[in-house]
Symmetry: C2
Subunit: 109 residues, 2 copies
């Protein structure tokens, strides 16, 4: 199962964390040390971001000796897409049309 939807949304709300996800998407299974590179902050700060991603189950980790490997979990993003995004996508064109007419019709400034 996927984590609390709110935790997922909150985890995705920071560009630093989305960047970490993007980097895992490009190269899965990286260590903390690798993920720290190119991040403009201390290792400890990166750890905190990864902790939030883990608590949202967006990232899972495995120890290999003294190194911690990080893997992307695609489930929560899929769940958000299915349960939340799709609901809005269904009436997208209708809502867009309504928006247009309302803005044109009633607004004068």
């Amino acid at each position: 199962m996927s984590a609390d939807v709110d935790k997922v949304f909150k985890a995705l709300a920071a560009p630093e964390r989305r960047l970490l996800l993007d980097r895992l998407h490009a190269d899965n299974g990286q260590t903390l040390g690798q993920l720290c590179q190119q991040m403009n902050m201390t290792r400890q700060a990166v750890t905190k971001h990864l902790k939030l991603l883990e608590e949202a189950t967006l990232v899972a980790t495995v120890w290999r000796g003294r190194e911690k490997l990080h893997f992307l979990n695609p489930v929560p993003i899929h769940d958000i897409a299915e349960r939340w995004i799709d609901k809005y996508e269904r009436d997208r064109l209708r809502a867009l049309a309504e928006l247009k007419t309302k803005l044109e019709g009633e607004n004068n400034g």
Copy 2:
């Protein structure tokens, strides 16, 4: 065009604001007063949430006399789905399989 992606993600990061979107999705064009009902906070607090939604272009407003009507704009959600979510959805099954084998194979606690 859609707003800054980061503003959209941040706007979606609070359950109160997602609830407001849901309520507009169910009944578009509501006034501030209507939207305040069932929200367990002051009108001014709701206004602040709606301001963030507006700045993310998730909501557009129209004045009708002394009332302010709020309309859903489906564009930013669509953009997030297309530009961001889909990227992860493409390799979903591959990533899931990789995750499984890594967790089973290398982790012992």
